[in-house]
């Protein structure tokens, strides 16, 4: 794979992860536990969809095949999406929403921090902007982890259950795709494996403070690449543009 194709794929991974978590959070609109939290989660949905828009627009330019961010969002099938499986996981309850968000926020903070020093100026500039949003997201989700962990037995049990269920999907964050070796070597993107130690420390610190246990990793986690949820999510997200291809606002 040449560098241009590799960068396209890398940008798709970043963009798709943001697009899918943005959609999942948008499903919380009008379903938050209280009005204020409903608005906060919807704001985060908009932040992630905004990041996806910028990343997929850039991806379209890199690919140089005339595809816009809308084409990439609405006219690809599930097997072409490169998002982390973590962000597809459904909004089972509020603990799942917060747990999924926290695990992602810590990862994105570390990733964007490194990407903001990319040798690709455009990517570095984007990452620096995204980082500010992610730092705030992490502050918000970490505070909720602490509240639920130190709340009632019910909230503690649900939070621990959500983390245990989501944990296997975090292994994927730290696997370097062999196709990106050149990008890593030339300092365009960081190595994913480098993020793991600090991610683990930051997550462990918040969970311990909250009275929660670090879930156990399993050897099978690395090969976990199936999730049944993406097709359902895309069916809803892509319905309108696919049914009415020429629809305009």
């Amino acid at each position: 794979m040449n560098n241009q194709a590799a960068l396209f794929q890398y940008l798709l991974q970043l963009g798709d992860t943001n697009l899918i978590i943005g959609h999942r959070l948008s499903e919380m609109c009008s379903r938050g536990p209280m009005l204020e939290e409903d608005i906060a989660l919807t704001n985060f949905a908009l932040d992630h969809i905004g990041q996806a828009e910028v990343l997929l627009h850039f991806a379209g330019n890199v690919e140089n095949n005339g595809r816009s961010e809308d084409d990439l969002s609405y006219r690809r099938d599930a097997e072409d999406f490169m998002n982390l499986k973590l962000v597809e996981q459904p909004n089972t309850d509020f603990a799942f929403v917060i747990g999924r968000q926290f695990l992602l926020d810590v990862y994105q903070c570390l990733l964007y921090q490194k990407l903001s020093k990319s040798t690709n100026d455009e990517l570095a500039g984007m990452a620096a902007r995204f980082l500010k949003e992610s730092i705030y997201h992490q502050r918000h989700s970490a505070a909720w982890i602490e509240r639920l962990g130190q709340g009632t037995n019910e909230s503690l049990g649900r939070m621990q259950h959500a983390l245990n269920q989501l944990w296997p999907y975090t292994a994927e964050m730290f696997v370097d795709n062999p196709a990106w070796a050149n990008l890593i070597e030339s300092g365009v993107v960081p190595s994913a494996t480098e993020l793991k130690k600090e991610w683990y420390e930051r997550v462990s610190k918040v969970l311990t403070l909250s009275g929660l246990n670090m879930p156990k990793a399993s050897a099978e986690d690395d090969s976990l690449n199936q999730s049944i949820y993406l097709e359902q999510l895309l069916a809803e997200m892509q319905y309108l543009p696919r049914t009415y291809p020429d629809a305009k606002w």
């Binding site: 209280m34 204020e36 939290e37 906060a40 502050r139 918000h140």
Partner: protein, 97 residues
């Protein structure tokens, strides 16, 4: 969760546009703790324009004049023109007074 406090206590939100300017009341919200109140204030009241400062105050900490006391508190002061600082020229350099 059915009692009227299930959303948490009420907090009042104040925002400051620029350094040195007075904080202005922006609105109110529900939150269970200080951090939640500050984050909710950020998400509800600061997303459209970037303020310089942000305060949240528990509504229960505010002491207010009740409407029946209103006359005794406020009426005596507005009929004496010498009490109003309208006889001074304010230099142009002084902004936001």
């Amino acid at each position: 969760m059915s009692d009227k406090n299930s959303q948490g206590p009420v907090w009042e939100v104040f925002t400051q546009k620029k350094s040195g300017q007075a904080f202005q009341h922006a609105g109110s919200l529900h939150a269970f703790d200080r951090e939640m109140a500050l984050e909710n204030a950020r998400d509800l009241y600061t997303r459209r324009d970037k303020p310089f400062g942000l305060w949240v105050v528990p509504a229960s900490a505010i002491v207010a004049v009740s409407s029946e006391d209103s006359e005794a508190f406020f009426d005596p002061s507005d009929d004496k023109t010498y009490r109003h600082p309208t006889f001074y020229d304010i230099p142009e350099e002084v902004k936001n007074l």
